[in-house]
């Protein structure tokens, strides 16, 4: 009866499919594959993205290490043993000169038997780019001389100082990264394969297969790591070349890591194999391998990837620990572990602290993998809201 009430009826023509039509964004959203969605969620996790970029850069750098490093891995400078890091300057006496370092003057303190280096402020050594430096063999395939940065002619560029034979630490770090990063990757691949196959079989077939696998996992978990490492390293034939030893180490590390993954795979499969689509596939005659590989695994591949990413750091740390114990890689092969072992003495801590710098890349890498792994896991988790 009040004439304030207003009825509203749209005057537009009636389109019966309006409700069901999707805007382009919505269409994108609903039709997106699992991987797409993961990627979107990952992008929102800023720290993980940064970590991912750092890691990708690191892995890219190992492709061109010879080019990036100012010096060769083995080149040594007898007059610059235990030289401290040279600071990079831009301005010399107020003028912009470009990135340069001051030359080092060297004096031997016979009283303390110490080498004393003082920067010579009159000797500015400007860094050169895309220049000819130490000769190298690119990936052992062809020779080259071009480096990204080189010291000035007749000068030195020890951005991170030198070690006891006068070798540039920065270059050694880069070369060491190549080995350490590869160890992590190869090890994780081995662990992945082992974990998925064994865990998959245990989870899918159940019964006695499951029991046996569980027992094996338990045994491996209870064995104290250290004697196992020592024994396996001792078992590596002594006639192997450094490369083979290196591969052997990665196999050992991978071999010790698969139980974790296997357990995760197993528990997931135990739950998932009761699902309807799995039963349907079985009824249609699919073989167990196909069921596991095509239907079950993709369900939690994302979780697996996250797990794997989180395992790489333990491989890297494992390699450093093995090298420290003298069981892993040894010079002349250079990895972070080897570098750290060489710094494992009181002189490095008290007198030449720049030798401890290999710790930094290890920390950065481990952090990077952990953050990325965290991000991946959050992104892969289907139970939280987008």
């Amino acid at each position: 009866m009040s004439n304030d009430l207003v009825h509203y009826v749209s005057q537009a023509p009636f389109d019966p499919t309006a409700i069901e039509a999707l805007t382009p964004e919505q269409e994108q959203f609903y039709m997106a594959s699992q991987w797409r969605m993961m990627w979107w969620r990952l992008k929102r996790h800023r720290v993980a993205v940064i970590a991912g970029i750092v890691l990708i850069l690191s892995y890219c750098s190992i492709i061109v290490t010879e080019f990036l490093a100012p010096y060769d891995l083995h080149s040594r400078h007898t007059e610059h043993i235990y030289a401290p890091p040279q600071g990079l300057h831009l301005f010399h006496e107020g003028r912009f000169v470009g990135p340069f370092v001051y030359g080092l003057t060297y004096r031997l303190d016979m009283e303390n038997l110490k080498r004393v280096y003082t920067p010579d402020t009159r000797d500015t050594q400007v860094i050169r780019y895309f220049c000819d430096g130490d000769e190298y063999e690119f990936w052992g395939l062809f020779k080259g001389r071009t480096h990204l940065v080189c010291p000035a002619r007749g000068g030195t560029l020890f951005l991170l100082g030198t070690d006891r034979l006068g070798r540039d630490m920065a270059s050694r770090l880069l070369y060491a990264g190549r080995i350490s990063l590869t160890v992590g990757l190869v090890g994780i691949i081995i662990s992945f394969i082992l974990g998925i196959t064994i865990g998959g079989m245990a989870g899918y077939f159940g019964g006695w297969v499951d029991s046996v696998v569980q027992r094996v996992i338990e045994i491996l978990r209870s064995l104290p790591e250290l004697p196992l490492w020592m024994a396996l390293s001792a078992a590596l034939p002594v006639t192997w070349s450094p490369i083979l030893v290196f591969l052997g180490i990665t196999v050992i590390l991978g071999f010790l890591d698969w139980p974790g993954l296997a357990r995760a795979v197993r528990s997931k499969l135990l739950a998932l194999r009761e699902e309807d689509y799995c039963t349907a596939a079985k009824l249609m005659g699919a073989r167990p391998g196909r069921i596991i590989g095509r239907h079950l695994l993709p369900n939690f591949m994302s979780h697996l990837i996250a797990s794997a990413t989180l395992s790489i750091p333990s491989m890297i740390l494992g390699e450093t620990a093995l090298s420290f114990l003298g069981l892993g890689l040894r010079p002349p092969v250079t990895s972070f572990g080897v570098l750290l072992t060489e710094a494992q003495n009181i002189e490095a801590v008290a007198l030449y602290p720049w030798l401890l710098l290999p710790m930094l890349p290890v920390v950065v890498l481990v952090l990077g993998f952990n953050f990325l792994g965290d991000g991946l896991r959050d992104a892969a988790d289907p139970y939280t809201d987008l």
Binding site: E218, L223, P224, A234, L325, Q344, V349, A350, F371, D374
Partner: protein, 332 residues
């Protein structure tokens, strides 16, 4: 329940047997045996040992028997509680290990305590203030602890403790207390020296624990009953403690099984670097010189501890988490 217990117990025994075989093989793997190492050492000091004498000693020590026989001798001895005889120290293993075992346990226990005490508040804070600066900062700290290689950190901390605090290095107590019975002063001295190794070993364990606690707590906080509780007006603190936290304590209990081997292993390397009077350095030395009984029995002992630890933690978990009893698997 009893069925389950019995089955688990049997598997424990089986596991230990297999481990003993593995350990034996592992120790025998490097070429040579205790006597050849001993001989090498004598010769490098300029003493020449005649081959006849070596044969004689080999017979004395029972090293001339086939490996299988040596294995059985050892295992039967173990079952009877006879840990065997150390060639190196020329004493029964139990005497050699004696005092060090106590210190080892003190060290490991203190480390686990450190891990719990540190990770608990950090984990809770991280979960309740997710994605805040505090969360990121603390997680970063935790990861830093994980990422730094133990042995290097040990050396650095040793040096600084020595220079800035005057703590003597490489020992768990001041020299004067070394051979004396326990007293208040000795205990204080131990605590003074203990914090460095505990810190070094514990830092890597805290990161993992923080992450797990945070993840579990986050899961719980999103459950329906929490929202219900908040809607009903429960104060946030009380709400947190009464329900989700108890669930989130799962990993603390479950992880004893995981943490135990890690802590024991980690402490071996750090103890070796810092040369603490615990079992770690002794084990390393025994492995290197292939002192069969000492190394083997001790590794078995460690394995036994680990297996029992896992067993207990599984039991505890079963008791604590009804879901396991129902479904037969642990939620992770």
């Amino acid at each position: 329940m009893l069925n389950y217990l019995a089955r688990r117990f049997l598997t424990v025994i089986l596991t230990l047997l297999v481990i003993s075989a593995l350990v034996f093989v592992i120790i025998q793997l490097p070429p040579g045996d205790f006597l050849s190492t001993y001989m090498a050492e004598l010769e490098s000091q300029g003493e020449i040992v005649s081959p006849d004498k070596i044969e004689h000693m080999r017979r004395q020590y029972g090293l001339d028997k086939p490996l299988i026989e040596q294995y059985f001798v050892w295992v039967t001895g173990l079952i009877q509680g006879d840990l065997g005889f150390s060639f190196e120290y020329n004493l029964p293993v139990t005497e050699v290990v004696g005092d060090r075992l106590l210190l080892s346990m003190v060290l490991n226990f203190a480390t686990i305590l450190f891990i719990y005490v540190v990770s608990f508040p950090i984990g809770v804070y991280s979960a309740t203030h997710q994605y805040s600066w505090g969360d990121y900062g603390l997680t970063l700290l935790g990861f830093l602890g994980l990422a730094t290689p133990n042995f290097l950190l040990a050396l650095i901390m040793l040096y600084f403790a020595n220079v800035y605090f005057g703590t003597s290095v490489g020992t768990l107590m001041d020299d004067v207390y070394l051979n004396q019975p326990w007293s208040i002063d000795k205990a204080i001295s131990v605590v003074e020296h203990l914090w460095v190794p505990v810190f070094v070993i514990g830092t890597s364990g805290t990161a993992g624990m923080i992450r797990r606690l945070r993840a579990n707590l986050l899961d719980e906080l999103q459950k329906q009953y929490v929202i219900t509780g908040r809607a009903k007006g429960l104060p946030a603190g009380r709400l947190l403690v009464k329900y989700p936290l108890r669930m989130a304590l799962n990993p603390f209990v479950a992880d004893i099984g995981n943490m135990l081997p890690q802590v024991v292993s980690g402490s071996v390397i750090v103890s070796a670097v810092m040369s603490l009077p615990t079992t770690g350095p002794m084990l390393l030395e025994a492995l290197k010189s292939q002192d069969m009984y000492l190394a083997g029995s001790f590794v078995m002992f460690l394995a036994l501890l680990t297996v029992i630890g896992i067993f207990i933690s599984d039991l505890l978990l079963t008791a604590l988490d009804p879901r396991i009893r129902m479904h037969g698997t642990a939620q992770r």
